[in-house]
Symmetry: C2
Subunit: 386 residues, 2 copies
């Protein structure tokens, strides 16, 4: 447990970056801004240009100061004669980013954007068009369903929500049964992360339509069963969630969906904290899970393999991925080192021992959703290859 | 079409009420405030007291003026020495209300609340505990699923989203088939309204568990197929949505779900604009629908019956409901009169003609979600009684 906490703290330090104030030099800005795809219906702002800059705009005629706060930098907006404040950020990485506005010292969501849960809150998010966005585009192909369900949980004495992705043909052939991937969000996020900003359904619909992934079920539930408060990480304990997942959710899914309910056809993956959870839970439950995916969430070392009886026989895939900027950060902070050892070195060592591994680096992205969408897109085709 | 538009305009006038500024006399306020059930996880504000007052609070140290804007009234908040602004509203009707904050002239969502789509935007909403809230409480009983699906729509050349509620046993008995209710949101709302603030799944789960309603499928999709802009109502035309619903969505649902795909087992209902849509679409498609529900959305007159061949044979139920405050408003504005004639008089007249009708008034509520939750709760048990 101590290693988990140390790892999470290191990770948060890596994520947080430096906080500063900024104002963009407007003379260099490309004037090809368009409303973001993550805007509320009909809203003109925020906008994004071809450099990946975000232009925010809000009417606040009596305000003294309005700022756009994105990727840990605050950009001053400028007021025009009608009381509308507007301003641009520096270019952002392609993909999805959380952000907010500051109005005279109040941190608020941008009324122009759709809202997403991250950083322990529902707040604004913005999509910077990515060169590879086609893999999660909504296309005119057969679509699966994302089902909101409640499952009974004795250990927490609640009905708990999960989202269940069923592939396009699930309702057609009532005789067919499917493997299952249990897919976890990160710290400060919840079960809406993968279905919403994660684009899980569209990634899978597209992969299945192209014949690149086998159809399987994906189950996404809330992985922070402890008290949900900022700083609650210090009290984080894997046991309550392991009980919910392994003893309650999996039996419920197997009883209520046409699953292939055995170890070879069950996978677990997660991003960031969800990766740590995946590592801890799968290593303790190798009779339950055969495929393991850690997205920006540590790795599995030769020591882990040594200390886990039966690992080599039972584990069919160890997939580890990071954003390239995360890898760069690890190299620049050798004294801290990544959680559980250098992930590439670990994976190479496991590979030499004959374990089926896959290491993926998302180009030009950091600890953010574009890395994780791409990770799912790389991971899914490797699953359940009988 | 002209009557539809006139009706909608009258309705909007009734809804809008009077806009004014206010500040609550704090000496009379009961100090038993608790965080609202609609708050974001772990957030202390907004709060609600036993009188139904809303207490908003936000840190805005540099702001000059902060207001809580709810039920068309703006309440000034007061700043404390730490820069936190706090203030209360007058007592609100029980049930769900949209609201927002104003910070130095900027209208923004409250970062403490969950967000709901209404008034053409995702924004803050708050639940005032109702005396009858048990009928939409989350209980430890079998739960149905709310499925997010995409269906192909040639007429709009898009993949369109719908939510499909399937009752608790839907996945158990693969031989059983179910009736279907098509359920529409109001103007300025979207397909998230009924599943989120409408509590459709919980209302149905509870009714089914108590044996009060037959299990049936509910389909909820977006009913404003025209351009989504404020003021777009003037250009509202029922034809595009009727095409999506009748020619595209219904065949898709019948092909992909175990429906009883005939007129006696198909109902349509809607709230406000969704009621107008229901009235127009069902009257033109009586070979498709047998049960009609209009919630705060007009009524069906003896003239309608006369002008619609086969009405008496084909229609199994005409359900009309309003909030009691809407009825009071109609009485106070006799010159304008309600859309399509006095709803109670119309329903009584239909009843005398031998048509199966039901008129329901939600006590002490207006043109708001508590009226519509209660309407669904009254309507569902009357459906598909073979």
């Amino acid at each position: 447990m101590k290693r988990l906490i140390t790892g999470l703290v290191v990770l948060l330090l890596i994520i947080s970056g430096s906080l500063c104030l900024a104002q963009t030099d407007e003379s260099t800005v490309k004037e090809d801004f368009k409303p973001a795809s993550t805007n509320q219906p009909g809203r003109e702002y925020p906008q994004v240009n071809s450099e990946g800059r975000v232009r925010a705009s809000i009417s606040a005629p009596e305000a003294q100061r309005v700022q756009l706060d994105i990727s840990a930098v605050k950009y001053d907006l400028i007021k025009d004669s009608s009381g509308v404040w507007t301003g641009d950020s520096e270019p952002q990485d392609e993909g999805f980013h959380y952000y907010q506005l500051w109005i005279d010292g109040a941190a608020v969501p941008d009324p122009g954007s759709l809202y997403f849960f991250g950083a322990m809150r529902w707040g604004s998010g913005i999509e910077i068009p990515a060169h590879d966005q086609d893999f999660y585009a909504l296309k005119n192909i057969p679509h699966g369903q994302t089902r909101a369900i409640f499952f009974p949980s004795k250990s927490t004495n609640t009905s708990r929500r999960a989202f269940v992705y069923t592939p396009p043909d699930y309702d057609k052939d009532q005789a067919k049964r499917y493997p299952v991937l249990y897919l976890q969000h990160g710290w400060g996020e919840n079960e809406y992360g993968w279905p919403n900003q994660g684009k899980t359904n569209l990634i899978m619909d597209n992969l299945i339509a192209e014949g690149k992934a086998k159809p399987f079920i994906i189950v996404m539930t809330y992985g922070m069963t402890n008290e949900v408060k900022m700083g609650g990480l210090r009290n984080f304990d894997i046991k309550p969630f392991q009980t919910v997942l392994v003893d309650e959710l999996i039996p419920y899914i197997d009883a209520n969906y046409r699953t292939i309910s055995n170890q070879p056809h069950r996978a677990m993956a997660g991003l960031s904290m969800g990766g740590f959870e995946t590592r801890l839970i799968t290593l303790e439950n190798l009779d339950t899970f055969s495929h393991i995916g850690l997205f920006s969430g540590g790795s599995i070392s030769p020591d882990d393999v040594k200390n886990t009886p039966g690992f080599k026989d039972k584990v069919k895939l160890v997939f580890v991925s990071y954003g390239s900027r995360e890898i760069e950060n690890m190299k620049n902070r050798p004294r801290r080192g990544p959680f559980g050892g250098d992930p590439k070195e670990n994976i190479d060592a496991l590979s030499k021992e004959g374990i089926n591994t896959h290491f993926y680096v998302s180009p030009n992205t950091a600890h953010e959703w574009q890395s994780w969408r791409r990770s799912l897109h790389e991971f899914a085709p490797l699953l359940f290859k009988d």
